[in-house]
Amino acid sequence: MALTQVRGDGLNSDAISTVNSDITVNSEGGAVTTSVVQGLAKAWGYFVYAGGVPSSQDSLNVSSYDDNGTGDAGINFSSSMNNDDFCTVATQQNHGSALTNNPSSGRTTSSTNVKGRGTNYSTVDTEQNWLVIGDLA
C-alpha cells in the first residue's frame, strides 16, 4: 500500500509521492516505534435507513452495501483485505436502552457485516457507524 506524503508544511501537490508501507514513527514516549500503515483505517462508513434500505452517507473503500435483512447490512470493499482476521468496529444509534452491535459474522477478505441490535437482542434497522482496521491485500 502507498501513502500520500504530507510534509510539515501541509499537503504540497508538487511534492506528492508515495512511501513504503513499512513506515514507522516514534512513539509519544519515545521508547518504541509504531507502524503508521497498520494503524490506519482501511475502510469506514456511515449509513442510515432511508428510502426503505440502508443508504450510505459517506465512506472509504466501500463498493456497495448488501441489505440482508432487518438491521443486517453487508459491506463490500472496493479493495480487498489481506485476510479475514481484520478488526471491524461498529456503533449504532441508541435503540431504547440498548447500544449493541454484532460486527463479527459474515467476514471475508472482500466484505464484512454489521448488525444493529435492540433491547432484546433482536435485529433492528438503525443507523450505523463502522470502521475496519487491518491489512489490505
Partner: protein, 124 residues
Amino acid sequence: MTVATYIVDKDGNQANAASVTVPSNRDFRGAWSLNGSVISEDLDKSKEIFKDKVREVRTPLLDAEDVVYMKALETDDATAKAASVTKKTNLRDAPAASAITNATTIAELKAAWDTSLLGDSPYA
C-alpha cells in the same frame, strides 16, 4: 462516490435497490420477496415474523403476570388467581390467534395485533 445498496430477499435473490420498487416500510423485512422489479412481502413469512414479535412482546407481560399471580396466591384471592391464569393462558395462546392465521393481506395481519392483550401495536 455513490455507494450502491443491494437488497437480498428471503430466498437470497439480490437486486440493486435503485432499480426495484420496495415496500413502504420494513415491518416485515425478512419476508421481502423479489419478483421482477418489485419487492413484495410474502404473507406466510410475514405471519412468522408477526408471531415472533408477539412472543417477544408477551415475554415481559408473562413475567409481570407471574408477580400478580404470586400476590394473589399469598392472599389466597381466588378471583385474582383465576384472572391471572386466564391472562397468562391468553398470552401463551396469542401467537395462535385465528386473526393471524386467517389474515389474507398484510393490512389484515397488522390489524390482528391484540392491543387489549399485548398493548400498543408495533405495526400501528
